[in-house]
């Protein structure tokens, strides 16, 4: 049976891959994909800590994970709506070209 530190390393790796996607890709949708990955990694952390807690433990980790999934879905919907609205206006999804407020 894996130890808690192995699970935490896996979720840290997932978080860092999400960070990689959010920082290094230039397409707006990829950044949103990265953010969703980071949220999923945090959910995995919650469930891992709930599972490894000294029994009997209240299922707080499970409840927080359920709410986090709902909130992540709402945030993805609004983020994608913003991407579509920005595309309609500027005809581009490359975040490097959205610099009209700079300076």
């Amino acid at each position: 049976m894996p130890t808690l530190s192995m699970l935490l390393v896996v979720s840290a790796a997932l978080f860092c891959i999400g960070l990689l996607a959010a920082l290094s890709r230039r397409h707006a949708i990829f950044i949103l994909i990265g953010i969703e990955m980071m949220l999923a990694a945090a959910n995995l952390n919650f469930i891992a800590f709930w599972r490894f807690a000294p029994q009997p433990a209240p299922p707080t980790g499970v409840m927080v994970a359920i709410f986090a999934i709902a909130i992540a879905a709402a945030e993805a919907a609004v983020g994608l709506a913003m991407v579509i609205a920005v595309y309609r206006h500027f005809r581009t999804t490359n975040v490097d070209q959205l610099d009209q407020l700079k300076g």
């Binding site: 390393v9 997932l14 920082l23 000294p54 299922p59 609004v78």
Partner: protein, 160 residues
């Protein structure tokens, strides 16, 4: 046996996540993003939180992944490839990963093995949602309604 299962699920999830983060073709990245969520849902099943795993498949693969592929369809003006990859992001991500792994390995209290538990039943989750967590439930309902209306307003065609 369970270590083998854990290793298999971990490899699947991390490989799909890496593919989603680095593939050049948008559609393939979006589809491996969906595969990654299958992997995470498998993790939830492995850890005994079956309801969360099912909700994860339902919400993320059934809704968020479809949203993302639809948005990719609606916002493309060239076919497939997207140029631009910022290499400094890789350094930051590797640095953060190193820091997290170092912290985890230094914490002795984390090298514990789990005890046997009964998986938490749907009935228990329902009871908790209606008694202890009823305020968060209502707030999430209001939040989802506000997000729905907001997203619709953002993409409505302006009549001007």
């Amino acid at each position: 046996m369970s270590t083998v299962a854990f290793a298999g699920i971990a490899i699947l999830t991390l490989a799909a996540a890496l593919a989603a983060a680095t593939l050049q073709k948008l559609m393939h990245a979006a589809l491996s993003f969906a595969v990654m969520f299958v992997g995470i849902s498998a993790f939830f099943f492995f850890l005994g939180a079956e309801f969360v795993g099912l909700v994860q498949v339902f919400v993320y693969i059934g809704a968020v992944a479809v949203l993302i592929v639809f948005t990719i369809l609606l916002t493309r003006h060239d076919v497939g490839k997207v140029r631009g990859f910022n290499w400094s992001g890789v350094f930051v991500a590797v640095a953060v990963f190193g820091g997290l792994v170092w912290t985890i390995s230094k914490t002795k209290s984390l090298s514990i093995v789990p005890q046997q538990i009964k998986p938490v039943t749907v009935q228990r989750i329902g009871e908790l949602l209606m008694t202890n967590y009823v305020w968060p439930l209502q707030c999430v309902g209001v939040l989802l309604t506000a997000a729905l209306i907001g997203a619709l307003i953002l993409v409505m065609e302006e009549k001007s």
